[in-house]
Amino acid sequence: MKTLLNLSVAALILAGGAFLYADDDEHEEHERHASNFIAKPMTKQEKTTVALYQKECGACHFAYQPEFLPKSSWDKTMKSLNNHFGTDATLDPAEHKTIQNYLATHASKYDRMTGMGGEIAIRISETPNFKQEHREIPKKMVTQAEVKSFANCSACHTKSASGSYREREIRIPNYGSWE
């Protein structure tokens, strides 16, 4: 039974982070996410969709787990792919629709933008929760060549590709663990 449970957790992590591990000291956040995942393996079609998302969006940047932003943010992003942070990231119509649906389905159920004065965030790093989590990180650790910006999750979060952001998995380039 334990093996079965482990397997389904692994499948969920592969789903692109339906379950995001929060820092070990933040059980509240941890449980909030835990409460909104459904323990069933991905269908073949879902796997294809995740692969498409990772291929298309991950070609230029880290393929952020959709759970980091609410649907309104993803909709805003998907409407402006012709000028996506200054680059043309347009997709063919069918793939655009598939990815938009994937993001909408897996988006955060929480607003995540409280305190932003009604602004709809398109950068995860603009959201109050992100800022709170990263407030102690010195700027030079983020701007160094190996990281470049807060957009590059995997530069420090070694398991981020599988949706895990535990504090003990952090390795900051030219610095090391974050204790």
């Binding site: 070609a59 043309d88 347009t90």
Partner: protein, 135 residues
């Protein structure tokens, strides 16, 4: 026999691209002829100029294809904005390149916009593809 030799020559020169990409280039060639009556085939040297020259890009800043892809098509490049590694463009170094017409069309559209702030013409696209195939 002569035709066979010709066909062989033709296929050898285009070996660096898959049949669907070759077909796409044939379509580009037809369009280029319509758009420019003096068009006389794609040219790798023109493609190199398109690929390596600097222009005012979509962000209003100087930009070249080589800003991300580097000047050596056989080596990896790096997205200047995100730092993400880009696999080599040369089909010799990276057999996945020039295998899907859909991928080729998508990236030519996007990257002409990024570097030239406009879409490329059929001739320009064909010239760049020819340059990539020969490197």
């Amino acid at each position: 026999m002569k035709y066979l030799a010709l066909a062989l020559l033709f296929s050898t020169s285009l070996m660096a691209a898959s049949p669907e990409v070759v077909q796409y280039m044939n379509e580009l060639s037809k369009t280029a002829k319509v758009e420019n009556s003096s068009f006389d085939g794609f040219d790798a040297a023109r493609g190199k100029e398109i690929f390596t020259s600097t222009h005012t890009g979509k962000q209003g800043k100087p930009m070249a294809c080589t800003s991300c892809h580097s000047t050596n098509l056989s080596s990896s490049g790096k997205n200047t904005l995100t730092g993400k590694v880009i696999d080599p463009l040369s089909p010799r170094a990276n057999p996945q390149r020039l295998t899907s017409a859909k991928e080729v069309k998508k990236w030519l559209k996007r990257n002409f916009m990024d570097v030239y702030a406009r879409e490329g013409s059929a001739q320009e696209k064909g010239d760049v593809l020819t340059y990539i195939m020969k490197n």
